[in-house]
Symmetry: C2
Subunit: 488 residues, 2 copies
C-alpha cells in the first residue's frame, strides 16, 4: 500500500462506503490528525475516514481486513500517550461524528451513548435528573467517552468512584473482521469471560467501540473541600496514607508541591498558601450529615499528620476557587518553562513519600526541574519534567529521566501508567513491567481478537524483539508456551 | 487414558511429583470429590491430587500438558453450578492445602493469601486491625477465596462493596503449560490488557490461581438494619428500585417472600411479621452520623413506596436476629420440601416487580412452588423451586422451569447468572445469552490461554455444536471470524 496508485485505489473504495466528504486524503486535511495530545510523536496517515453509522464502520473494517490495511481509531485526540498516533500506510478512523446520546434510563441509572460523545456532555445531559457520570479526566470538556473507555481514563473523582472500567456496564464493539459483539449487559454481572474489563483500556487494539452504556450516579447532596498545608512534601504524602488508613474515602485527594501551587496561584489566583512546601486538597461528598462528620474527622487526621495550616472552604465560591487552582495546574506549569513532559505512574499509596524523595534526587541528578501535582489518594503520580526542546539533548535527557521515574514506580510495586495508557510513549517500559511470558499472553489475547494485527499495530504491547533490543527482556524458564507466537 | 494400565502409569508419575499420600486414587478416597455444591451432577475423577507448593502445581500441570490429561481445579467444593465437577479421565486438583495467609499489609490495606484460605478467615485475620474483606457469599464460613475468584462470587454486601472482581488487586496464576503469570498489581491500575477481570469468574478454564491479593476495607463505625413489610411482592420489588433511585446505597438490600420469611422464622425465630407478603431487609453502614441520617431517609422512601410496617432494629441483638433469618433462609426452605433447586439470575433492578410476577405465573403453570429470597438491590434473583426427586419426572420439570426463568432474565435485559457461575448447570442457557460470534470470541480467549483445552473442559462456555443441538444457535452474518475455531 505504499505507492500513490494504491492510495488512489483505497480512496476510491472508501468513497463507495462513505460520502466523498467523509474520506479525507489531501495533505492539508490530514495534517490535523497527525498527532494526539502527545505531540512529540507525529505521523500523517494515508487516509482519514469519518463514519457516521455502524454499517459504515463494519464496511470500512471488512474492507481493511480484506486489503490488509491497518486501522487506528481516534476519539477526540486528547490522549497523552500517543495511542491515536496514525500510521503512514494506515487509515485513521475518527469516531467524532458518532456523537449521539441515545438514551438516559432513569430507573436503571444508565446512559447509552455513542463513542464520540464528550465526557462532560453525559453529565450535562443527566444533570436535570440529578445524575452525573463520575470519571472526570482533566480533559473532560473535550475528551470523548470512547477514548475514555479505550484508555480506561481516570480523574480526580476516581479515588471514590473508580476508573472508567468501574463505571460502564455494556459495550457494543465491531471487530476488525467487521463483526458485532455485545460485551457486558444491563445487569450487574455477566456470564462468560469478563471481556468488558479486557476491552476497557485495550487502547484500540482489540475492536472498535461503537456504543457505551455508562452508569450514572446521583449528584451528592453536599460537598466541601479541605486545603491542608505542609512544610515538607514527604509529610504531605504520608498524610494521604493516614487519611485513607483512618477509613475516610474522599471524593478527591490531590497533592500539589510548592512549584505547582505557586504556578496555579499566579494563573488563577486560587488563594493558596504560597509558602507551603505542599498542599493537599481533600474533597468530601455525601449527605450533609456525612460531609459535616467526615470534614471534622479528616481535619483531625491532617492535624495529627503534621499539617501546618488547615482551611475548610467557607462557601461554594471558595470551594470552586480551591479546585480552579488544581484544574489549572497543568496549563499554569506550562507558563514556567518552554516545554514540559507529563509523566503518569501509579504506586501503592504508602510509597508516596519514598518515591517523591527519589524523584527529587533524580531531578537534581539530571538538572531538570520537576513539578508534582497529582491524584495522591490513588497513588497516581504526575511528575511534570520542565525542559526546553530548543536546547540540544534536553528532550532526550527528559525522556531518559521520565523512563527512570517509571522504573522507580515499578520497583515500588506500582505500574508505568495510571490513566494515560501506554500508547507509543511507554512501550519500552512495558518490557520492564512484564516478563516475556506475560507479554506473550498479551499477544495471544490480541491474536484472539485481531489475528492479522491490523488494529492500532505497534502500540501498547511491545514485541519480544523490541524488548530484547531495549535490553529489558526477561528470560523466563527459557521456553515459550505458545510456540506459534514466537514471531512476536 | 481410559485403561487401568494408563491410570496406574499416571499415578506413578504423579507420585514422583507429590508425596504418596497426596495422590488419591482408591474409590473410597475419590468419592468425596465426586461433586461440588450442585450434587445433581456427580462423577468420580481418575485421580485427586493435593499439592502443597507452587512447584508441585507447575509440575502437575506440565505433566498433564505433556500427557494430554484434563485437569479440574477445586477450592472448597461449595460452588453451586458444578464448576468443580470432575472428569472421568481427568485429574481433580484440590487447592485446599494451600491455605496460608501470607501477609496482611495495613498501610496498603491488602491481604496476600493462598487460594485455599476460607473467605471468612481473611476477615477474621484482619479483624484486629479494624479491617475486613467485603464480599460475603452465603457459604463464606466454608468457601475458599480461590473458588470465589474463579466464580466471581458475590453476597449481601456486594451491592455497596462490589463483587469479588472489585475487591482484588493481583493474582498469581500458573498456566496449563506450567508457566507463571502475575496479573494485576499492588497499585490501582495496571497497564496492558486487563487480565485480572478476565481471570476472575473464568471458572477455572484459563489458569490455576495460586495467590490472591485482596483489598481490605475498614470496618464501618456503625451499622443498622430496617425491616419493611409489604402486602404484595411486586410492591416490595418496586421499593427496592425507589431506594436506589433516591440515592441511597445500602450495605445490603434483601427481599424475602412470605414462604421464605415464614420458613426462616420457623427455623431461627427471627421475629419477622409472618403475614407480610414480602419483607425487605435494608442494611445501612458508615459513620454514626451517616447511618442515622440514611436510616431516616430510607424509612421515608419505604413508607412512600407502600411499606405496611417498618421496624428499625433497636439494638445489635435485634439486628443480628433479623439477619440470622435471612442467612438461615436456604436451609430453612430445605425443610419445606424434599428437594429444592436454587436458581441464580440477574436482572436490571427496575424489572424486579415484572419478573417476579412472571416467575409466579410459571410456578402455577408448572405446579411447582417457588420461594423467593434474594439480593434485591443487585437485581440478583434466587428463586428456589421446590420439588421431590422421588416423584417421576419432577426433576426434569424443575430443570425445564429453571431454564425458563433464566430465559425470562435474559429477555428482561439481564443475565443467566449473578454469582454462582455457569459451570455445568447453565451451559445450555449460554446459547440463549450469547450469539455464535460472541461464543467464538470466548473460545478464542480460551485458546489464547489453554490451546489444548485441558483446563476444566466442557464447562462454562458451550461449543457451537452444543448450542445447535440445544436449538438456540444464533446464526450471525452467516460466517465465522476465526475459521481456525470452526471446530468449536
Amino acid at each position: 500500500m505504499s505507492t500513490s496508485t494504491d492510495k488512489k485505489l483505497v480512496i476510491r473504495c472508501l468513497q463507495k462506503i462513505l460520502p466523498t466528504e467523509s474520506v479525507l486524503h489531501k495533505e492539508e486535511d490530514l495534517r490535523p490528525y497527525e498527532c494526539d495530545g502527545l505531540s512529540a510523536y507525529q505521523q500523517v496517515p494515508m487516509v482519514v475516514v469519518l463514519p457516521e453509522t455502524i454499517k459504515q464502520i463494519e464496511d470500512i473494517l471488512s474492507f481493511c481486513t480484506n486489503q490488509t490495511i491497518p486501522v487506528v481509531a481516534r476519539g477526540a485526540g486528547t490522549g497523552l500517550s500517543g495511542g491515536a498516533l496514525p500510521l503512514e500506510n494506515g487509515i485513521l478512523m475518527s469516531l467524532a461524528r458518532l456523537s449521539r446520546i441515545q438514551n438516559i434510563d432513569i430507573d436503571n441509572r444508565t446512559a447509552r451513548v455513542q463513542p464520540g460523545v464528550r465526557n462532560l456532555a453525559i453529565s450535562e445531559a443527566a444533570s436535570s435528573y440529578g445524575l452525573y457520570y463520575a470519571p472526570d479526566p482533566s480533559s473532560q470538556i473535550a475528551c470523548s467517552i470512547g477514548g475514555n473507555v479505550a484508555e480506561n481514563a481516570g480523574g480526580v473523582h476516581c479515588l471514590k468512584y473508580g476508573l472508567t472500567v468501574h463505571n460502564i456496564l455494556k459495550l457494543e464493539v465491531i471487530t476488525m473482521q467487521g463483526e458485532h459483539l455485545t460485551i457486558g449487559s444491563d445487569a450487574l454481572d455477566s456470564p462468560g469471560y469478563d471481556l468488558l474489563a479486557l476491552m476497557t483500556g485495550s487502547e484500540g487494539l482489540l475492536g472498535v467501540i461503537t456504543e457505551i452504556t455508562v452508569k450514572l450516579l446521583p449528584k451528592p447532596e453536599a460537598a466541601n473541600v479541605i486545603l491542608a498545608a505542609f512544610d515538607d512534601v514527604a509529610t504531605a504524602g504520608q498524610a494521604v496514607s493516614n487519611i485513607i488508613a483512618d477509613g475516610i474515602l474522599p471524593a478527591g485527594l490531590e497533592l500539589m508541591d510548592n512549584a505547582a501551587l505557586r504556578a496555579a496561584d499566579d494563573f488563577v489566583n486560587a488563594g493558596y498558601p504560597r509558602d507551603a512546601a505542599a498542599i493537599l486538597l481533600c474533597e468530601i461528598d455525601g449527605t450533609s450529615a456525612e460531609v459535616a462528620d467526615r470534614l471534622e474527622h479528616a481535619q483531625n487526621v491532617l492535624r495529627t499528620s503534621g499539617a501546618t495550616e488547615i482551611r475548610v472552604a467557607h462557601d461554594e465560591q471558595q470551594r470552586a476557587k480551591f479546585w480552579a487552582g488544581r484544574k489549572a495546574a497543568f496549563p499554569a506549569v506550562g507558563r514556567l518553562s518552554p516545554d514540559y513532559y507529563c509523566m503518569d505512574g501509579t504506586i501503592p499509596r504508602y510509597q508516596i513519600a519514598n518515591v517523591l524523595t527519589r524523584i527529587s534526587e533524580l531531578s537534581n541528578e539530571y538538572r531538570l526541574p520537576i513539578v508534582n501535582v497529582f491524584h495522591a489518594g490513588d497513588g497516581n503520580l504526575h511528575p511534570l519534567i520542565l525542559y526546553d526542546a530548543n536546547i540540544d539533548g534536553e528532550l532526550e535527557r527528559t525522556e531518559e529521566l521520565g523512563g527512570k521515574i517509571l522504573e522507580i514506580c515499578v520497583e515500588a510495586g506500582g505500574t508505568i501508567t495510571g490513566e494515560h495508557g501506554v500508547g507509543m510513549e511507554k512501550i519500552n517500559q512495558m518490557c520492564v513491567q512484564f516478563n516475556s511470558m506475560e507479554l506473550q499472553q498479551f499477544h495471544a489475547i490480541k491474536h484472539a481478537f485481531d489475528p492479522d494485527e491490523l488494529l492500532n499495530p505497534g502500540k501498547a504491547i511491545p514485541t519480544l524483539h523490541r524488548c530484547a533490543e531495549f535490553g529489558a527482556m526477561h528470560v523466563h524458564h527459557g521456553q515459550l508456551p505458545h510456540p506459534e507466537l514466537e514471531r512476536f
